[in-house]
């Protein structure tokens, strides 16, 4: 058990993916973490709490990626769809 309630208005993608390992996951196995470049809540697998090194590096890399996306979009006007490819 992990996420047991989310706001109705909150848009959670059908295919929720872990922000650290990119594996698809269910809300019941997810933990809420940082926000992405679009200011949406990002989630990660609950199991990462037992792997502290991965947790540290995973979220640090996530911050770097999302900051890069945000800066590209704001400064250069490049869409996220292009960045994701």
């Amino acid at each position: 058990m992990a996420i047991t309630q989310i706001p109705r208005e909150m848009s959670v993608k059908d295919q929720l993916a872990c922000s650290i390992c990119r594996v698809s996951l269910l809300l019941s196995k997810a933990t809420a973490g940082l926000f992405d470049a679009n200011n949406h809540q990002a989630f990660a697998c609950v199991s990462h709490f037992s792997e502290v090194e991965l947790l540290i590096v995973g979220w640090a890399d996530f911050i770097v990626d999302e900051r890069r996306k945000y800066q590209r979009r704001k400064v250069l006007g490049v869409s996220n769809a292009w960045l994701d490819t």
């Binding site: 992990a2 933990t31 947790l55 540290i56 979220w59 640090a60």
Partner: protein, 151 residues
């Protein structure tokens, strides 16, 4: 608790301050954090200890990588972790801090506008609704009842 994200049981059957510190690591950038505890004084010491241990692990990760971008990011994270101020004084408007540890009764007098709240003790549902009433939409409430062993 309308409009809030609720998280329970993420740390298994016997959560500790170590688990709390690891979760806090993922929420430290979003303003003030409030921790509801029966005995704030007995939570703050082990939590700070675990927090500093985690900061040390981040430093170790920084030392072990050759990725320049990651080194820069981890350096910033370590600096930020060391700058976080833990306090048992409440309310936030009167005492400067980042992580507030307080009892339910203290928080009931001044419900916080924080983005993250950890509930580490038994709180009646009505009281839980009241203390989370001023939290912004999509904020996170983590229910993790700490065991007797706090370290």
């Amino acid at each position: 608790m309308h409009g809030l994200i609720r998280e329970e049981g993420s740390f298994g059957a016997n959560p500790s301050t170590k688990d709390l510190a690891k979760h806090l690591y993922t929420r430290m950038y979003y303003g003030k954090v409030v921790i509801v505890a029966d005995k704030p004084l007995s939570v703050i010491s082990p939590l700070r200890k675990q927090w500093l241990k985690l900061a040390r692990k981040v430093q170790k990760e920084r030392a072990s990588t050759l990725n320049a971008v990651r080194i820069k990011e981890l350096s910033g994270i370590v600096g930020y972790m060391h700058s976080l101020d833990f306090t048992v004084h409440y309310p936030p408007d009167d005492y400067p801090g980042d992580v507030y540890i307080a009892t339910v009764d203290q928080i009931l007098q001044w419900p916080p506008q924080c983005r993250t709240m950890y509930v580490t003790c038994n709180v009646e549902l009505e009281k839980l609704h009241m203390i989370t009433a001023w939290m912004p939409k999509s904020s996170l409430v983590v229910i993790c009842r700490l065991g007797l062993t706090l370290n």
